[in-house]
């Protein structure tokens, strides 16, 4: 190690987080960290607790135990609007847009917490430069947009708060493979060009690992595996269970009738 190597700055640090949906424990002691400038992905099947994790970070749900530190400040008990002021924006799953407002109004709502009104117009242009289709549709009601355009709108609206950290929940949900590819290319560009650190929750492990620097695998509310995206992508378990690459057949020419994961 050379002396010049700076330790990467940790933006988000979560320790032993536990969250409940009523009596059901959805997050069972999750610890993770997100470094500045990275795209970190959280993989997992339905019901693994990925969305709950994001909702707990953005303050829509309150954790039962544990801490969430943003730039070293504990934010786990704050209201969602206060958390946006700390530089976290949540782009929710299923394109939660304002359906009866125009595209432009939706984008303007993303800047709700900002006080520097003069530079908001520039940033609107920045958003439109990434999503030109939104500029064409800017006077149209957002509810009339297609699924992919609504997803773009949700991301663009999230950008308007100039977040340090963007929480992206299933951006590929319900989109065609082509559109998914397009959205992920834009996510990577935003990360590189606008320096937005991303925490990306996905079921589509292939696209997520391609885009991400680091990954966590979540099952039944726990982190079961974490490593750099390259290592995860080549791991046998991830290939088998998340990437759908079938393993070698055994000497009898049959696949094992039941696979076991190494972490169980």
């Amino acid at each position: 190690m050379s002396i010049n190597t700076k330790a990467p700055k940790v933006v988000l640090k979560i320790d032993n987080l536990e969250s409940y949906y009523g009596p059901i424990q959805a997050i069972r002691g999750v610890s993770l960290k997100v470094n500045e400038g990275q795209i970190v992905t959280v993989l997992g099947a339905n019901g693994a607790g990925k969305t709950t994790l994001l909702k707990t970070i953005s303050g829509v749900m309150d954790p039962e135990k544990g801490t969430i530190k943003m730039d070293g400040i504990d934010i786990h008990s704050l209201e969602p609007d206060a958390i946006v002021h700390h530089g976290i924006v949540h782009v929710p799953e299923g394109r939660e847009i304002f359906p009866l407002m125009t595209v432009a109004e939706n984008i303007a709502m993303g800047a709700y917490t900002r006080k520097d009104h003069s530079s908001i117009t520039d940033d609107e242009e920045m958003v439109y430069s990434y999503f030109p289709i939104l500029k064409d549709r800017r006077n149209q009601r957002a509810g009339t947009l297609s699924g992919g355009q609504q997803q773009m709108l949700a991301i663009g609206r999230g950008l308007m708060s100039l977040p340090k950290l963007m929480l992206l929940d299933e951006p590929s949900l319900g989109l065609s493979p082509m559109l998914t590819q397009e959205i992920f290319e834009i996510i990577v560009r935003l990360n590189k060009e606008q320096k937005v650190t991303m925490m990306l929750v996905e079921q589509n492990a292939k696209v997520a690992l391609d885009a991400a620097d680091y990954g966590y695998v979540m099952e039944l509310g726990r982190i079961v595996m974490n490593d750099t995206a390259e290592v995860l992508a080549t791991s046998k378990d991830i290939q088998e269970f998340y990437l759908g690459v079938s393993q070698d057949e055994n000497q009898r020419g049959q696949r094992r009738w039941k696979q076991r994961k190494t972490w169980r």
């Binding site: 829509v60 209201e79 969602p80 924006v89 939660e96 709502m109 509810g143 999230g158």
Partner: protein, 291 residues
Amino acid sequence: MDFLQLVISGLANGCVYGLIALGFVLIYKATEAVNFAQGDFMMLGAFICIGFTNHEYMSLNFWLAVPLSIFLMGILGYLFNWGVLRHMFGQSQTSVVILTIALGFIIRFLAGAIWSHEPTSLETPFAGQDIRTGGLVLGIDEILIVVVTAVLTLIFFLFFSRTRIGLAMQAASQNQLAAYYMGIPVKRIQSLVWGLSGMVAAVAGILFASKGAIDPSTGLLGIKAFAAAAIGGFGSLPGALLGGLIIGLSEPLASRYGPPGVSQIAPYAILLLILIFRPGGIFSQTQQKKV
């Protein structure tokens, strides 16, 4: 001439219904609960103004009493949401609705205890004055009601489409969760909406009481305004005003040209017809709300 006279008095009544309906819709859109005490808010606003300006009470200047009572009703609306409803956040809609019904009873009782159950009129500088043109008698009070409602509608339109807080209210009513994610303080916005509908109710009450006598049970007028809101398409602000006007017009016209008693039924008959033929109301917003 006779017909025109009826239309004008119907319009004036309709504006009051429309304003109460506006209060219903504001709260429904922002919090997805129906405030059944809206009619009683209207009555309370009127009595607060009576308390400020009438001679047997504080006899303040009318033009001072009006903004004072509107402001006070705004505070009361805000406080009720902040102090009571906010603690019921996440409870079922039914309990909120029952709570507002109970609130209505409490307001009716309190108003009766403070200002008596006798019908009382608001003492206004323009009481009894009218303009006569070509056989038409226009009461200043009736003209004022229409003008004030029109101005208020314009203010509301500008408020919701131009101001930051108005847009935030719209956003919170269309998608509460997304509003949270954008950093909009949804709970405070809801309290502000309650304050706003308290103020609208006060305006409606003052207009109503300047036109005729009011007593604590007048708040039951809220049911008619509820019908107006439903006719307009619950959730649409212009719809609420239009529904109010339709109901207001139907009453005098039905009592003049229809068989006796029909004017009592007319608002509900219209409501029934609208619900059968256009279930979402006139300005139905087909976009489904997601929570």
